[in-house]
Subunit: 558 residues, 2 copies
Amino acid sequence: MKIPTDIEIATETTMLPIKNIAEKMELQEDSYELYGKYKAKINSHELKKMSNKKNGKLILVTAISPTPAGEGKTTTSVGLADGLAKIGKRAMLALREPSLGPVFGMKGGATGGGYAQVVPMEEINLHFTGDFHAIGVANNLLAALIDNHIHHGNILNIDSQKITWKRVVDMNDRQLRHIVSGLQGKVNGVTREDGYDITVASEIMAILCLSNNIVELKDKLRQIIIGYNSSGDPVTAGDLKAEGALTALLKEAINPNLVQTLNHTPALIHGGPFANIAHGCNSILATKLAMKYADFAITEAGFGSDLGAEKFIDIKCRMADIQPDAVVLVATIRALKMHGGVSKKELNKVNKDAILEGLPNLKQHLVTIKEVYGLPVVVALNKFETDTAEELELVKEYCLSNQTEVVLSEAWEKGADGSVALAESVVRLANQTNDFSYVYDLTDSIEDKLTKVVQKVYGGNGVTFSKKAYKELNELNRLGFSNYPICMAKTQFSFSDQVSLIGAPKDFDINIASLKISAGAGFIVALTGSVMTMPGLPKHPASEGIDVNEDGDITGLF
Amino acid sequence: MKIPTDIEIATETTMLPIKNIAEKMELQEDSYELYGKYKAKINSHELKKMSNKKNGKLILVTAISPTPAGEGKTTTSVGLADGLAKIGKRAMLALREPSLGPVFGMKGGATGGGYAQVVPMEEINLHFTGDFHAIGVANNLLAALIDNHIHHGNILNIDSQKITWKRVVDMNDRQLRHIVSGLQGKVNGVTREDGYDITVASEIMAILCLSNNIVELKDKLRQIIIGYNSSGDPVTAGDLKAEGALTALLKEAINPNLVQTLNHTPALIHGGPFANIAHGCNSILATKLAMKYADFAITEAGFGSDLGAEKFIDIKCRMADIQPDAVVLVATIRALKMHGGVSKKELNKVNKDAILEGLPNLKQHLVTIKEVYGLPVVVALNKFETDTAEELELVKEYCLSNQTEVVLSEAWEKGADGSVALAESVVRLANQTNDFSYVYDLTDSIEDKLTKVVQKVYGGNGVTFSKKAYKELNELNRLGFSNYPICMAKTQFSFSDQVSLIGAPKDFDINIASLKISAGAGFIVALTGSVMTMPGLPKHPASEGIDVNEDGDITGLF
């Protein structure tokens, strides 16, 4: 039997008009705006209106350390929401929006897969409701205002060699990583080194996701540091009188987007900050709204629990004043084999030894979630066709011997039906009392915050600083940013800062290469090694296979 | 009495839900999609469905040669549509979408003014329904695919010094006019000279506006020439297998946008190609749909009748197989004074001599419209507060002595009421038989086409070619493009190619500096002098005055 592709499954499913979904949620007609028949934007003011309403349970979906084999966090999240609905619970998703870069590159979209998808997948994966375009243009207006200010006399004394604000494009375009701009004479700007990031890496993306309302949004935009003046002091977006226009550009983008799963479970898809140089979670507004509308709000955080979940907790939950009630840790047989040292092309062979070698990675995540974050956790073993019963049994036994719930998740193949066991486990866990805790306090020194993350979450010894980072540390303290939370930018493939140290490495230090302030978003980015903020396209980009027929139907998206 | 600003008038007016407008137009529910409560997109397939329906009259609004004093074409167009509605005619507008560049720069939006506006003005002027973002990202995907192809081995042998395809951004950003990209080593692309245009200048914008349907759109995208290979032969978007993905990105953007005037007259606002290096009219689809839905479709073309109207007729009408039934030529006392040599700050003084000096400019436009295009014309004298009765009378007499209808247009101050006289004149003229004619035949040689435009429309002697242009002319003939129409890129301020030759110059040649093929859009761009395709921001950009309050209400847009 031919297995249908994601877009085939998605387009063969009958969606409900989003109006019907909104009615089911008891939304008033003036609380949302339609964007076509199957997308809507919920007004951000709704949150304030519902301030007295009790919050539903918040479920965080995270994963073991990612491998090239993939883990299926979004698919599991979507399946879980549908599974909860199937057992009679009011469930709602709060997920990230996909970036166009991966859609045309290699990774494909970010709307789940198989029978656990959010739809309309082709619209969500292309422009959706324009949020990323709004963020991109706001980012680039600020960039234009900076160079324009210098061009027209530079009253603020901006040092053109110390501009930290880059332009962005929602595209994998390596050609733009390093450019020289403002060439060919004074009338065409000021010649300087420059470069592009992908839009999801813009600080404005992080700001949008961390703002509880439009006033906070404008305030954060105002505080963006765009670079430094000739005395070394920060120059802000506010100094350029930019925050009003930027907010105007973002006034629709701040409203969370409502869509549905294949099973008609409501889903808010909103914001998608880069999980390395930003915190990698969907917007605070979407998560909070989901908690108001549903008894179970399902959200996810980028990469593994060491990166995404830590930042979810220490940055997003703290700024939003919310906390998760239970955690789902997604693992796959294939990923565990890779953590056990098996190469990608050998993954289809039964290999219990490799799984045993890889399980310490799972364990380190479990220990962090339970003992550091203080939260109940269930392992969702995301089933692939190639998994054998004995391999699955091995992982189950391991979890049980570690006093951890474990269920098989068959969301991809069976949708809601394949997620009932997970849903039941989640309901049970979320009703337990928990011991939620941040990893560090904001009043801790920057060094202490970093050390706590490394020791408590990564299982390492501590941190070392490059000369550059040490200088930046002193500078951040001088400028009064010592009370900001930390946004770790570390490889997702290892608990350490070395990609090759898979599994659960011990006895390592994390070297902080650089410390940067995102004063608008409100966190200090700690870079460990170099972080790629502009991907490239592969030799045969996915775009080559995408087509549209005369009726406007798209094929080749995955 | 304080005169309210455009945005004050716009936001104080009660709009009808766009659904009601659609119902009034007898649109089926599945013929359009809502984008919020006051915007909709009409499915491009509607045109095919109505192929047997009789077309309404097509009215072209154009103007005398623009001056810094402004002429008010959009305001007059909106007023005319409302005026037609007021006298009981089914009228509909087909206008261009504004670019974000001028909105944050100096010029402001492009939604009319005073009591003759299309609304919601702040949404139309900001992201609207995302068409320009879609065009920008399609443009930039193609750019990324080019450099990516070279990076991965360059099978097509693209000469990196002969890449003609530029990246775009919807922003006035002089800093990006000339850049060097692909710096810092092989892994980061191929170092080459590069540069950005503003999004409206993208060939994809022109393509979208010149496509009758989605199949034509894809076909035109496939034919885009992105540069030349090492043998000097063109390399196309089709060679990069890009047309499917580009079409996917544009599949919503091709659907015309429905909004309303302050008086609830339906308006299609769709596409906005740069009026110099492209043809400067809204989309064929919008214009044709307006002709199906209404008895009078009002559209406009960029700049004066020498540029916009000529390209409207020779490019757009020809490709769309439509023709206008009457022309409105907008003139103002202030602009006529400037053509008579008065500086901008002296415009408020009564100066009949200057007007008499400026009137030959008006006359040259009239002669072209009547004798070359063969169309009936009415002069709409767009009234400003500072105009005196004797000045207005002078222009009226001049028109009448030239056997031309003339009416006072008070659209800005009085909306529909101020446009009834114009509406009545237009109805009368549009019902006359006319002698419509293109300026040249497609089978004319490129030299002959250019010469005919210069002699018949500009009133000049003929054309001369730069050495470069002459070489390009031979190359275009060799490549088989000799049957394409011409898209003149000339200063809008003069009939000649010299900005300073205001009024109605005689005895001049037009020097063709360069000839470029836009093989996708389907025309040859004839550049006369240098054309700016990336504006800059002024010392105090309009963005500084834009703000948003906590309810999301925008102020400072104009």
